[in-house]
């Protein structure tokens, strides 16, 4: 059985230059509650390294990274 991850908040940061998508994610984590699942859509190449690096540093969970329609979707669960 596949576990479905329900996204709590979705941020469309497509077209936003670096470090906008990461900053939007940090803002959403700041405002969110433990267990929230946040999706960030980014077209900025720098996000591929910046976002996973920050999620690891901040001890949250990177649920998935997928390519969709020219953008990358990062799904992050707030763990603390």
């Amino acid at each position: 059985m596949t576990q479905v991850t329900e996204v709590t908040r979705s941020i469309d940061a497509r077209g936003m230059p670096c470090p906008g998508p990461l900053m939007s994610l940090i803002g959403a984590i700041r405002e969110g509650s433990i267990g929230d699942v946040i999706e960030v859509l980014s077209t900025d190449a720098g996000s591929l390294t910046d976002i996973p690096a920050w999620v690891t540093k901040a001890s949250h969970e990177l649920v998935s990274v997928t390519e969709t329609d020219g953008a990358t979707s990062f799904v992050v669960r707030k763990m603390r």
Partner: protein, 386 residues
């Protein structure tokens, strides 16, 4: 009947837009600036004030003296915008009707969002905070200084980096540098938002013995223990903590249901029209544009909005667009600075720090009052060497 144009905010963007509109349209328009204090403050000067290099009196002037005589000034706080009715409600009960509205209300500092920040830290993002920090630095006799950012976006992104460089110089001059540690707590994995600028800055920081701690987004301050904590779970001990406070859009924008969750105004990146509003424009720090919140941004946006409104008043097609242009200086201490020039499509390629750029910033600071609000900076000087 002349077109009624109301400009909310008497900062760089609002003052310049009002003067340009009045100059361009003459009797075809009645331009009114609404500002809660009636005082125009030169915010880039706060940094110099905090480090004892400027006098507070130099940083503020009566807004009336900066506006053309035919521009009206209402010293009032706008509390709510009614886009459909074409009016703006004022705090003391009155209201103003407009045919075109320019929102240049800027950003609001909200240090109360960070527990312990007011008691446990200093800052240089307001006149009062800069003066308080200047007094604290006069008393400082050495110790651990942490400089951090408590929320993004914030005004003038180079300011924390400039502050650590100028603080290093300040402490060396007083013979306190060897007894002090300076650490920049950066919210990103580099010293500055723009990567090319970080590559230039970080080696200079290393050479000056300025520490860099990355991915440190300030979450709370424990004033009694002298500890600042990050969203990432780290802690840093300090003897003197200097923070950039969190920012958000103005209360009037929230009250008018015109802002995003941060209170920033959704704005078209080229026309500067507020989303879904043909006759309302936004400039400066209050927009949601993916570009620096700085006086320079507002300075480049104001002529675009003035030109577009003038076209609409005359029934012609607006042609002027904003390309995301920003130009600013970044002090690196020891009488040197670099410059950042960029737009939506072109990231900056900052030159090596040089005395010439420091002299240019010094000159700009002194000429500001007689040039920028009136639109007297010539185009070639704004463009610089491309």
């Amino acid at each position: 009947m002349p077109a009624r144009i109301v400009v909310l905010g008497g900062g760089v963007g609002g003052t310049l837009a009002a003067n340009l509109l009045s100059k361009e349209l003459g009797r075809e328009a009645r331009v009114t600036v609404v500002d809660p204090t009636g005082m125009h403050v030169y915010q880039p000067g706060f940094l110099y004030l905090a480090l004892g290099d400027a006098n507070g009196r130099w940083l503020a002037r009566d807004e009336r003296t900066l506006l053309r005589r035919d521009v009206d000034l209402a010293i009032e706080r706008a509390v709510r915008i009614h886009p459909d009715a074409g009016s703006v409600q004022l705090e003391r009960g009155g209201s103003l009707d407009w045919d075109y509205l320019v929102i240049a209300t800027g950003a609001r500092l909200v240090p109360e969002q960070i527990p312990g920040m007011a008691e446990g830290s200093f800052g240089f993002y307001s006149l009062e905070d800069a003066e308080r920090l200047r007094e604290e630095l006069r008393r400082f006799r050495g110790g651990r200084i942490k400089v951090g950012v408590a929320g993004i976006p914030y005004k003038c992104p180079p300011a924390p980096v400039e502050f650590v460089f100028m603080l290093d110089q300040f402490l060396r001059r007083r013979g306190l540098r060897e007894r002090s540690e300076i650490t920049l707590l950066s919210p990103l994995n580099r010293a500055f938002t723009i990567e090319s600028a970080s590559k230039l800055i970080q080696p200079i920081m290393s050479a000056r013995g300025i520490e860099l701690e990355t991915f440190f987004n300030v979450e709370s301050v424990d004033a009694s223990a002298g500890v600042v904590s990050s969203l990432e779970g780290d802690k840093a001990e300090y003897d003197l903590l200097v923070l950039v406070p969190p920012h958000r859009g103005q209360e009037a924008i929230d009250a008018s249901d015109m802002g995003d969750p941060g209170g920033w105004i959704p704005t078209d990146r080229h026309t500067l029209q507020v989303k879904d509003q043909e006759r309302i424009f936004a400039i400066g720090d209050g927009t949601d544009l993916p570009i620096s919140k700085s006086g320079s941004t507002a300075h480049f946006e104001a002529p675009v909005v003035a030109s577009r409104i003038a076209s609409l008043v005359r029934g012609t097609a607006p042609r002027s667009n904003y390309g995301g242009r920003v130009m600013c200086f970044l002090e690196t201490g020891d009488g040197r600075a670099t410059t950042l020039r960029f737009d939506y499509e072109h990231p900056p390629v900052p030159p090596q720090p040089h005395r010439m750029w420091h002299a240019a910033k010094w000159l700009f600071n002194r000429l500001y009052w007689e040039t920028v609000p009136q639109g007297r900076i010539p185009e070639w000087a704004m463009r610089g060497k491309e």
